[in-house]
């Protein structure tokens, strides 16, 4: 087993401090000082600092956060909303849950700073319905923050108002898509919306809206406290800073690890996660959550965890869900599970996704049960391609990409189906 190097902890710095979810404990560790500093700053300077940090959204799409904030039209006369996306539902990802349950004040502090930067007076934390425990913890933290005058009118003695409302989802993966989230928050089915208009211009209640992931907002206090440049010294050219990686599957120490972007995947699996369980042989790794195409063992050996390298291997960092698959497990069973997931979660709005996810699932079910045919394998490929880039949101692509990835990288797995006419 490889020697365990320490993680590069920024957001998780105090995560092991007992009772960190309590305001007093968070404050004792220096919490809320950055927010206090922020509300006395020029909001544009905060945006500038975040731009300098180079941080890209941690929800999966990886859009530069500073730019996103910079797009908001401040002078339309309409209220501006900041929505925190805590609808973490991508299979393989469980980092936001950790931040919500263990360090909610760090998130609230990030929300205060971000709200102030984008001139938002009201934010919502949209938390997935299943995270009942996290919801209780976060609500308590919000109440505590109000109690201390950190939220509400005259935030921290300033003239600013920042209200934060916790909103529970009710079981729908698609609400993690930012416009699906907005629809849901408006009391509708979580149907994603056509873009344009983009949320920055017309989002929640047709007002300018910024949607940021829990991890992104939780990083903001550190960036502002230490400076964007300090953050940018971590990571690689295109992938600045650190991020949380969720390692799950056949490893000795599954869990959430914070590491600099650009670290090697091997270090993550063999170092932090303690290597393969029971000395099993590696079959494949899904690097960024269920919708990201898998890596072969040879690729795993070469891969570093950053946006650019992942792109080179035809996959993505996604939301940091690293799923480690051992040699002894039938790979196609997992792909069948994935196709079932997207079939189950497709909102049904756009035809290619609604019909395509069902078809992919049916074909994978047949193949997995040994009833698949060469025609099914050919159809999987063709159908998945037909689903790419033709829908309102990315769920269709997310369903198609792993199918195409498995076909491309693990063609032998489909051998028996291929030989069956």
């Amino acid at each position: 087993m490889k020697l365990l190097a320490p993680e590069r902890r920024i957001i998780l710095k105090n995560i092991e401090t007992p009772n960190l979810h309590q305001l007093s404990v968070y404050q004792a560790a220096g919490g809320y000082q950055t927010a206090r500093k922020a509300v006395a700053m020029n909001p544009d300077a905060i945006i500038e600092e975040v731009k300098k940090s180079g941080i890209r959204g941690r929800g999966g799409a990886g859009f530069p956060t500073g730019s996103k904030w910079g797009f908001v039209p401040f002078k339309t006369g309409k209220p501006i909303y900041l929505l925190c996306n805590a609808d973490e539902s991508e299979p393989g990802c469980f980092k936001d849950r950790l931040l919500l349950e263990r360090n909610p004040h760090q998130l609230i502090e990030g929300i205060i700073i971000a709200s102030f930067a984008v001139r938002s007076l009201k934010s919502y934390i949209y938390i997935r319905g299943e995270y009942a425990t996290a919801a209780k913890v976060v609500q308590k933290a919000i109440d505590e923050a109000y109690g201390q005058g950190f939220l509400g009118k005259n935030v921290m003695g300033s003239t600013h108002t920042i209200d934060v409302v916790l909103h529970r989802g009710a079981g729908a993966y698609i609400c993690g898509e930012e416009t699906g989230l907005i629809s849901s928050l408006e009391g509708k089915k979580g149907y994603p919306r056509l873009k344009p208009p983009f949320p920055a211009v017309s989002g929640f209640l047709n007002c300018p809206t910024v949607v940021n992931n829990v991890e992104t907002l939780s990083t903001v206090p550190w960036i502002l406290a230490n400076g964007g440049e300090a953050y940018a010294t971590y990571g690689t050219e295109q992938s600045r800073g650190t991020r949380l990686f969720c390692v799950s599957g056949w490893v000795n120490r599954p869990g959430v690890y914070e590491e600099e972007l650009g670290c090697t995947l091997r270090d993550m699996i063999d170092g932090h996660a303690g290597g393969m369980k029971e000395g099993a042989k590696l079959k494949a790794v899904i690097p960024g959550g269920s919708s990201t195409p898998p890596l072969t063992p040879e690729e795993v050996d070469k891969a570093t965890l950053d946006f650019e390298t992942m792109a080179k291997f035809g996959t993505f960092l996604g939301a940091g869900g690293i799923i480690v698959i051992p040699d002894h497990f039938p790979l196609l069973k997992l792909l069948e599970r994935l196709t079932e997931f997207y079939w189950d979660e497709s909102c049904g709005q756009c035809t290619p996704c609604r019909e395509g996810t069902g078809w992919l699932y049916k074909m994978m079910k047949a193949i997995e049960h040994g009833k698949g045919t060469a025609q099914d394998v050919a159809n999987l490929q063709k159908t998945a391609n037909q689903m790419m880039g033709v829908t309102i949101c990315a769920l269709s692509d997310a369903a198609a990409m792993p199918v195409l990835g498995f076909l491309k990288k693990f063609p032998n797995e489909f051998k028996s189906a291929r030989e069956h006419t």
Binding site: G348, C350, T351, R354, W359, T383, N385, Q386, I392
Partner: protein, 525 residues
């Protein structure tokens, strides 16, 4: 308004700023396949069929939600777009039942049409299809969820047009199912439009279902006369039997968008059933008579006592008919004219349901009133006319051009008939209230005549003859001229209508319009 110029398939087209690429393509005459787009509903962007390639944009875009910009280079005819559209179409079809032979939409189904133009592949779907409820009775419409492609046109219609909100899409993914939320019947007065806008066979109108294959039908443009709104219509008859099968809305953004109400659509039955077939003379019971007898008696009666005669002018007559009737009667010495209209309703400030349906059931009240003024005749008004008959200064009544759409008004007129010395009723349909009339004469319906009317929106529009006159029915041109001559030498009504249009109506109401090629959209008064 500012304009932008873009090219579509190499052809330059200039459109107003804010126009979508889809609309620009339409303007350029380039057809873009689509299911969910509808010009009178919000943009849903869910069928994903209207994909186009735009220079400098990496992926195909849906044209219905893309605004045209200056210099944009759009193509709909590249192999990539054809392939994309074919792929999307295939996904529309994988779970669609193969029941075209028993589907009433066949022949006007967009799945069939686009499969012909963009599909033509062998089915790859070898797995069990998704099944959903079929043949569900939702009032006037039959819903087949399995055929539904979830384009949401109908849902948007009930949300945005009727605001009745009864249709929805339930569940998610490929379990998504269109139905009424309470599984009960539709609750609005515009349900027939749902069958029109459904691009597939999911929503079919009970009234039309299985009555006729659409390829046997001929469509003629006309205008609805069931109320004062003047919705533009297209009327379908069987090309060989000439039987009337269907009335559909004809799009006119100034009048009715793409809609008509159910009364206008299915009221055709009340217009065609229980028709007066021949002139009937009352001799203690109605007996069949000839027009010759009728005309000679009418001419004699009117000529003998023109000052005692009141002519009730149905406001279902065309402008040309009104002119003809008034001029003939005036020439015979008649000076008392009353329009037939619900006067209380005409004076309402909000005389309709906020969508299309007018409380005023007179298709041409506005034209009638205007013509009387132009001819220098006094309109006594309906109530006052009735009072004059009741109190006896007038003892002879001729009610001209009655049409079943105005049925409720007939009763009021008929109520005074017993107090008259003799009365002549010219009506499309039988009505018990006519039993005291001396003569009941068969009138043509609005489907059997040609002429112009003026709607409550002050729009001059043209009604077109779709069917030959039923039985011995005569329109009011023929009636007027028969009375004038006192015998049954027929006048070619269409010629009369054209002559009157050109001699008066045209210059009064719509200068520059030609009778034979009247503006299909009508013109503002």
């Amino acid at each position: 308004m500012k304009t932008v110029t873009l090219t579509i398939n190499g052809q330059a087209v200039t459109v107003n700023e804010g126009t979508t690429v889809f609309q620009a393509a339409q303007a350029a005459g380039v057809f873009v396949p689509h299911y969910c787009y509808h010009p009178d509903l919000s943009i849903a962007g869910v069928c994903r069929m209207c994909m186009v390639e735009i220079e400098k944009v990496p992926r195909p875009q849906i044209s219905c939600n893309t605004v045209a910009t200056e210099g944009m280079v759009v193509r709909t005819d590249t192999p990539k777009i054809k392939d994309t559209v074919k792929g999307v179409l295939e996904l529309h079809l994988i779970n669609h039942p193969l029941d075209c032979p028993i589907c009433d939409k066949a022949g006007e189904c967009k799945l069939q049409d686009f499969y012909q133009s963009y599909g033509l592949y062998t089915s790859r779907m070898e797995h069990e299809k998704v099944h959903k409820p079929k043949v569900q009775d939702i009032g006037t419409i039959v819903l087949d969820s399995e055929r539904c492609i979830l384009c949401t046109r109908c849902v948007r219609f009930t949300d945005e047009v009727t605001h009745s909100n009864e249709l929805g899409i339930f569940n998610r993914g490929d379990r998504s199912e269109l139905r009424t939320y309470d599984e009960g019947p539709l609750k609005n007065d515009y349900t027939g439009n749902l069958a029109d806008i459904c691009p597939v066979g999911a929503l079919t109108a009970k009234d039309f279902r299985f009555q006729q294959r659409v390829w046997f039908l001929d469509k003629t443009k006309s205008v609805c006369t069931m109320c004062a709104h003047g919705c533009n219509t297209a009327v379908s008859i069987n090309s060989s039997t000439k039987k009337l099968y269907r009335v559909e809305p004809r799009r006119n953004p100034e009048v009715n968008q793409s809609w008509i109400c159910d009364t206008g659509r299915w009221g055709i039955h009340s217009l065609t059933e229980n028709r007066v077939a021949t002139p009937l003379k009352n001799a203690g019971g109605f007996l069949d008579a000839t027009w010759n007898q009728a005309f000679s008696e009418m001419k004699r009666a009117i000529t003998e006592a023109p000052e005692k005669t009141l002519v009730f002018l149905s406001t279902a007559m065309t402008n040309e008919e009104v002119v003809d009737v008034c001029q003939v009667m005036f020439a015979l010495g008649v000076k008392n004219f009353s329009w037939l209209v619900d006067e209380a309703v005409v004076s309402e400030t909000q005389p309709f349901d906020g969508i299309l349906k007018h409380h005023d059931l007179s298709a041409n009240a506005r034209g009638t009133a205007e013509i009387l003024k132009r001819l220098g005749l006094t309109n006594l008004g309906m109530k006052a006319g009735i009072d004059k008959v009741k109190t006896q200064p007038l003892s002879q009544v001729v009610a001209v051009g009655l049409d079943a759409a105005q049925g409720p008004l007939w009763v009021e007129v008929a109520a005074v008939i017993p107090t008259t010395t003799q009365s002549f009723v010219h009506a499309t349909n039988h009505h018990p209230s006519f039993e005291a009339a001396k003569w009941v004469l068969p009138n043509t319906t609005s489907f059997e005549k040609t002429g112009t009317i003026v709607s409550a929106l002050a729009r001059v529009q043209k009604v077109n003859r779709i069917l030959p006159a039923q039985g011995l029915a005569r329109d009011s041109h023929a009636l007027a001229w028969g009375i004038s001559r006192g015998d049954d030498r027929s006048v070619p009504s269409k010629e009369r209508a054209k002559t009157i249009f050109e001699s008066s109506i045209q210059s009064w109401f719509c200068p520059g319009e030609k009778f034979s090629q009247f503006n299909e959209m009508g013109v503002a008064l």
